[in-house]
Symmetry: C2
Subunit: 336 residues, 2 copies
DNA sequence: TTTATTTACGAAACCGTTTTCGTAACCCGC
DNA sequence: GCGGGTTACGAAAACGGTTTCGTAAATAAA
């Protein structure tokens, strides 16, 4: 019924607890013969060590924390896969914590991590996050933390990002080349690094092509999915409505398509659309969606690999390990 | 730098460790005045308790394990949201473990859980799982485990499922009513409960409507996404090809659409398609996809709520708590 | 006043590991 | 045959909390 512990296992073998522990860890102090006896007995009695006792004694948890805004999002779920693939290989567990885009939640989670629950953290900040005290607090306790995708620039640690400015520029320029002259930018946060940079890329492209930047074309959407649809619809109903839309995050794809359908605006005839998105279904949407696709899986993998590099060594300067990867513009029918 | 522990906190307060611990837990043994002093000091010194020490002593982890085949799947990511919403409310953490559809992985994970890493488990079995010894082993150690969606029938525990037989029947009948007389069924596993029941529903509908069941129309797909596309394509190239397709899982949506496009088969003109799927983008696919949609979030929520009910009481017969929820047929253009 | 009870706290055991340190027994060379 | 080194193991101290139990002082009951 109850799980057997090392003490009972030792008694069964008529060995001391320490000998059993060493044998299980393949210590050189233990004879080959004894090791085999111990291993056999452990298997026979189905001994499974208590991870909390090990963690307490060893001061490490064999867990890494992944802090993200949400899980039902292609970018994040693919990134999780990348992270998990290397964590699994290293024998680590992945503790996924969702902030639901709330700064308060994010602070609570990082605070808890100060207690030693995880050995390291991979994080993409919430849409509300503009300060970084909570992050620095955790880092100063000796818990390595790496930011990916949504980063805080003023935290001195590794940041794995994509070329957001360039992507915003490319998306916008693509629309211009396709004939758009009134282009909207769907924003998601005032503070988020990715939002700001993508917006800057958008603005630069607008300027470089002698178009006028217009505040009414920059729409700040919300975390509440239900509110985004009316916002976008309203934008598409204004006089002199945009004939091109850059959506800076995946979750705005649905409301854009829905609003266009409701207003009987044809994509790409009336409005051309490009989204930052990792949706697998982008090629089979109606019309197929032109996307800026981020290497989500790879980013997760790279971030996790880097984290494990730090966990090995102690004096490792993460701040020097930042990396910017390229996103890809995948042209499809929505900008045709 | 390092985190402060309760001993240091006690020394700072000139109190004993036990008094501090009790004060932090709002014990009646401690005076209100002392409690306030302790709370103040804990906040000032930023004391965060070590969760592993608590877990070790208290023999409970405040973690629940969620074992699923993959995370980049709408059904599972929505279910995670449902689970997380109640876990968060109860002050629990969610440890997500991916089997990647591998029985070996699943066994390893559950074995590890025997060590006490989690207080309870919510699980959807892998596509390879046909035995249940590993599940019963865990349950017999006193770790409550609830199955959801993909269940093992011979495990005596609560199972939260949808009406797979009825859904398979309804999907197929819908195709028949739309004029299909040669209907393919895309299967994903020989052993999986959901597959078997959905298939049975399909066969029953076929029989009830005087169509002939044909083995060549039942395609067993694989876990390897790349192999499914040629399989499906081949099926659609055979003479007397199906004019209707029931896909029993979400991940087969893409290859079906791609194969039809490659073969220049019009959906729904040449082939009508209905998928078991929770894809948010189903309404904006080209053509929009008729789906059997499962209440994924609710299932997660129900399963988690039930788990916490067990974690409270000890003598609780989970086997009596199974629940079957209805999926919804959402008719769209792919079967028009 | 004496006894019983309550209040508020501290000492120490305990949870299940890992690791340090100590120590017999054996082997080796000289 | 004697120091020095290795081999193979055990005792006990950690790790950082929680909980049981004991107890002095204060209060209540008799």
């Amino acid at each position: 019924m109850k799980n057997i512990n090392i003490k009972e296992l030792a008694r069964e073998l008529k060995l001391s607890v320490s000998t059993v522990s060493k044998a299980l860890h393949d210590s050189h102090e233990i004879s080959e013969e004894t090791k085999q006896r111990v291993l056999k007995a452990a298997a026979r009695l189905n001994y499974v060590p208590n991870p909390y006792a090990s963690s307490l004694r060893g001061r490490k948890s064999k867990n890494i924390g992944v802090v993200i805004p949400e899980v039902a999002d292609s970018f994040f779920s693919l990134a999780i896969n990348g992270i998990e693939s290397v964590a699994h290989e290293k024998g680590y567990h992945v503790l996924i914590c969702l902030t639901h885009e709330s700064f308060e939640n994010e602070k609570t989670i990082l605070k808890e991590f100060q207690g030693g629950r995880v050995d390291g953290v991979l994080m993409s900040v919430s849409g509300e996050t503009s300060q970084s005290g909570h992050i620095n607090d955790l880092i100063s306790k000796g818990v390595p933390l790496i930011l990916f995708d949504r980063v805080c620039e003023d935290v001195e640690t590794a940041k794995i990002t994509t070329d957001d400015f360039a992507s915003g520029y490319r998306a916008t320029e693509h629309l211009i080349q396709q004939g758009c002259d009134e282009i909207a930018f769907l924003d998601i946060s005032k503070s988020l690094s990715i939002s700001r940079k993508r917006l800057e890329g958008y603005l630069q492209a607008i300027g470089d092509h002698q178009l006028k930047a217009d505040k009414k074309n920059i729409i700040l959407c919300t975390n509440d999915t239900n509110k985004n649809y009316p916002l976008i619809k309203k934008m598409l109903q204004q006089e002199n409505r945009p004939n091109g839309v850059v959506s800076s995050v995946e979750k705005l794809t649905m409301p854009v398509y829905k609003a266009c359908a409701a207003l009987k605006l044809k994509i790409p005839g009336d409005v051309k659309v490009v989204c930052f998105s990792n949706l697998e279904t982008a090629p089979i949407l109606n019309p197929s969606l032109t996307t800026i696709t981020q290497p989500a899986f790879e980013m997760g993998k790279i971030a996790a690999t880097l984290l494990f590099k730090v966990l090995g060594k102690s004096n490792f300067d993460l701040a020097k390990e930042s990396l910017v990867i390229s996103s890809a513009l995948e042209v499809r029918d929505s900008t045709g």
